[in-house]
């Protein structure tokens, strides 16, 4: 008997007793759903925790500051910095050539006046004394917006600015708090227009110092949850560079920020977590201070791994219990179908034909239960994640995102099928050993 014929025969036998088959499939499905849901939620939680540690950027990300390293802080995740040291293009190029570096992403910052019509700042560096409080000093932070996934920024409302945009920005909760906007109200700022002014120092013909600003209009398109470097406004490199270059071209006797470092910092992504220590050491050898949560990430990953092992164990136990159900159901089926098995033998079925038929029955129930359980488990994980996401975002925090773990789904279905086949082995062997004389009910 071919495998296709054995499959058809097994399928007929399963469908002949739909109630019993359905109960068995449901048991497997529930176990598979539990397994899938728990592991998906564990992976999501792990991702969220690590994302929080890496502040939304890649785990192998290293922040390079425009400052010399402090030798006493070697090996520390977030060391104190030494004396300021500008980062120029030559330094960026040197760092990019370090072995183990995947990509170097520049960060450009610029001093900025922030004018927000209709809003009054209540704290921080408010421009005055004649002003109403609508204008504050803050910092514009420019990054390559086409590489957002590589930066430690997370969106809590709205969207990121379009790459290269000079009229779209995101703001941080720290800036909004200066205007008394906190919690869920932060979302309401999306769509507002602010005016950004880069100051530049001049000396008039009579020697009087005067500041003239380069003003641009910008629309707030989103709110990010991390402080963008030391600034409250996240923008494109283009916008930040234009502002920084305007300020830097000023009279240094009037404005000390004139001639400042072209890059406020760099975000270096190593080729992997294993490369982070060596890359950090190499960057510090070039002369710049670095920070990265490598030690913290390693610790967290160890603890999360333990949790995953425990959850996997619980899931496997659930599947094993379901497998016992399959064994029990098939043993009962063998008892009930003694005559039928005898007839099969009598018309020429070999022992292994009977064995194969019963194993396929078990496998079909396991596979079906695995598929249904995987879908249910993913749906359950998404439901829980949606609830958690809603709570986190209501608190002004970054939410969670559940990916579709295809590999886990496949593994669950395959695992459930194999467990079911294993569970069906004893009943299948018992059926195979039944003599053909059962057909004549001696």
């Amino acid at each position: 008997m071919s495998w296709a014929d054995a499959f058809r025969l097994a399928a007929r036998s399963v469908l002949r007793r739909p109630g019993r088959a359905a109960l068995t499939v449901v048991a497997v499905a529930l176990a598979a759903a539990l397994f899938t849901a728990m592991l998906t939620m564990a992976a999501t939680a792990q991702g969220r925790v690590l994302n929080q540690l890496a502040k939304g950027g890649p785990l192998a990300g290293i922040q390079v500051a425009a400052a010399a390293p402090d030798p006493s802080q070697a090996g520390v995740d977030d060391p104190t910095k030494g004396a300021p040291k500008p980062i120029d293009q030559a330094a960026l190029d040197r760092i990019a050539r370090i072995p183990g570096v995947d990509v170097v992403l520049p960060i450009v910052t610029a001093q900025s006046l922030v004018a927000w019509p209709g809003h009054t700042a209540t704290g921080g560096d408010v421009v005055g004394p004649n002003n109403s409080g609508s204008v504050v000093f803050d910092q514009l932070v420019g990054i390559d917006l086409s590489r957002l996934g590589d930066f430690p920024v997370t969106l809590s409302a709205g969207r990121f600015p379009a790459p290269g945009s000079v009229t779209q920005v995101d703001v941080t909760p720290v800036l909004l708090a200066r205007y008394g906007i906190t919690g869920t109200r932060t979302r309401s700022v999306v769509g507002s227009q602010i005016i950004l002014g880069a100051p530049r120092g001049f000396r008039s013909s009579d020697g009087t110092p005067v500041f003239r600003s380069r003003w641009t209009k910008a629309t707030i398109v989103g709110v990010v949850t991390q402080q963008a470097g030391s600034g409250g406004i996240l923008a494109s490199l283009s916008l930040a560079r234009a502002s920084q270059q305007w300020t830097a071209a000023g009279d240094p006797s009037v404005d000390p920020d004139a001639g400042s470092s072209p890059y406020a910092g760099l975000f270096v992504i190593a080729r992997g977590l294993d490369s982070v220590p060596s890359v950090r050491a190499a960057v510090e050898a070039v002369g710049y201070s670095t920070s990265a949560p490598e030690n913290l990430i390693a610790t967290v990953e160890r603890y999360v791994h333990v949790v995953e092992i425990v959850l996997t164990g619980i899931g496997v136990i659930a599947l094993a219990i379901a497998s016992l159900g399959i064994t029990n159901a098939l043993l009962a089926a063998v008892r009930e179908r003694r005559r039928e098995i005898g007839i099969l033998k009598a018309v020429g079925a070999r022992d292994r034909d009977v064995l194969r038929s019963f194993l396929i029955e078990a496998g079909v129930m396991g596979a079906l239960g695995g598929v249904i359980g995987t879908v249910l488990g993913l749906a359950l994980a998404r439901l829980v994640a949606a609830i958690v996401d809603g709570y986190l975002t209501s608190q002004g925090l970054a939410g969670v995102h559940v990916s579709t773990p295809y590999l886990l789904g496949i593994a669950t279905v395959v695992g459930a099928t194999l467990l079911a086949v294993g569970a069906g082995t004893i009943p299948a062997r018992r059926a195979a050993r039944l003599p053909a004389r059962e057909a004549v009910e001696l």
């Binding site: 058809r8 399928a11 007929r12 469908l15 006046l113 004018a115 019509p117 421009v127 004649n130 002003n131 109403s132 609508s134 204008v135 917006l145 957002l148 969106l155 969207r159 990121f160 600015p161 379009a162 790459p163 290269g164 945009s165 000079v166 009229t167 779209q168 227009q193 005016i195 002014g197 008039s204 013909s205 009087t208 005067v210 003239r212 600003s213 380069r214 003003w215 641009t216 209009k217 629309t219 398109v221 989103g222 234009a242 079906l368 598929v371 249904i372 995987t374 879908v375 993913l378 749906a379 995102h401 559940v402 990916s403 579709t404 295809y406």
Partner: protein
């Protein structure tokens, strides 16, 4: 229904369920790129009124700021080259180079109080203004708007000088001998004539502030000057911004 068909239907249903569950995993979190448009640069050339000295919130309420915010396209960059107390001659050396180096596409010019109260003759003023306007016009691609003189009672600084003020920071300088009202009125009328002529000759756009302010006063509008009489009030700044906006050619305007 035959069992074989039932089996195929069951399998198909499960496959459809699985595929339906594997939907998209995230929303587009990056804003769509805005439509590309020509970047325009607006430079304001002027005096203390252009830096909003008399307004409640100079960085927001100065009339060039209002003009920039409400009238010009979203991608416009605005540089305020104005210096309090500047005359046209000073603007030629201190402010015009910034406008040129910034590659300004729109320039507003309103420099009347300093020269008028300083007693600069209309002919001299006209010559200097023409030089300024011509420089700012560049090759003729820059839109330059030039404002004329408001009625004397609303001339920033004049009421303050009448009241005995001498100098307020660098906002204005009152002459030691303030000309009489009749003489100033005649001079301001001459100023208006040369301003109009210079605008025509240079291709600049004349902004008739005299009429706009007179109309506002006749209608009983909000005070044009601040209580000291030295600077534009917030309402006055809004009026001036509106007058310049009305004169701005359509092609330079915000089109949303």
């Amino acid at each position: 229904m035959r069992a074989g068909h039932r089996i195929r239907l069951a399998v198909s249903s499960v496959v459809v369920l699985v595929l339906a569950g594997c939907g998209s995993t995230g929303t587009d979190s990056v804003a769509r790129a805005q439509p590309a448009g020509p970047r325009s640069t607006y430079v304001a050339v002027g005096g203390s009124d252009a830096v909003g000295s008399g307004t409640g919130d100079p960085l927001l309420d100065a009339w060039p700021q209002q003009f920039f915010r409400h009238v010009l396209p979203l991608t416009t960059v605005f540089v305020n080259a104005a210096e309090p107390g500047s005359t046209v001659a000073e603007a030629i050396t201190d402010q015009a180079p910034l406008a040129v180096s910034s590659r300004a596409t729109v320039v507003t010019v309103w420099l009347v109080s300093g020269d008028l109260l300083d007693g600069t003759p209309a002919t001299t003023y006209g010559t200097q203004l023409l030089q300024l306007l011509t420089t700012l016009r560049g090759r003729g691609t820059t839109t330059v708007l030039v404002g004329n003189v408001p009625p004397l009672a609303q001339l920033p600084g004049y009421p303050a000088c009448l009241n005995g003020a001498v100098r307020v920071d660098r906002g204005f300088r009152c002459p030691e001998e303030l000309p009489g009202a009749a003489a100033l009125t005649a001079t301001s009328a001459a100023y208006d004539q040369v301003i109009a002529a210079d605008a025509t000759r240079s291709g600049a756009v004349l902004v008739d502030l005299r009429s706009a302010v007179a109309t506002s006063v006749a209608r009983g509008g909000a005070p044009f000057l601040d209580p000291s009489g030295a600077e534009l009030s917030t309402a006055g700044s809004t009026l001036v911004a509106g007058a310049f906006a009305a004169a701005l050619p359509k092609g330079d305007r915000h089109t949303a």
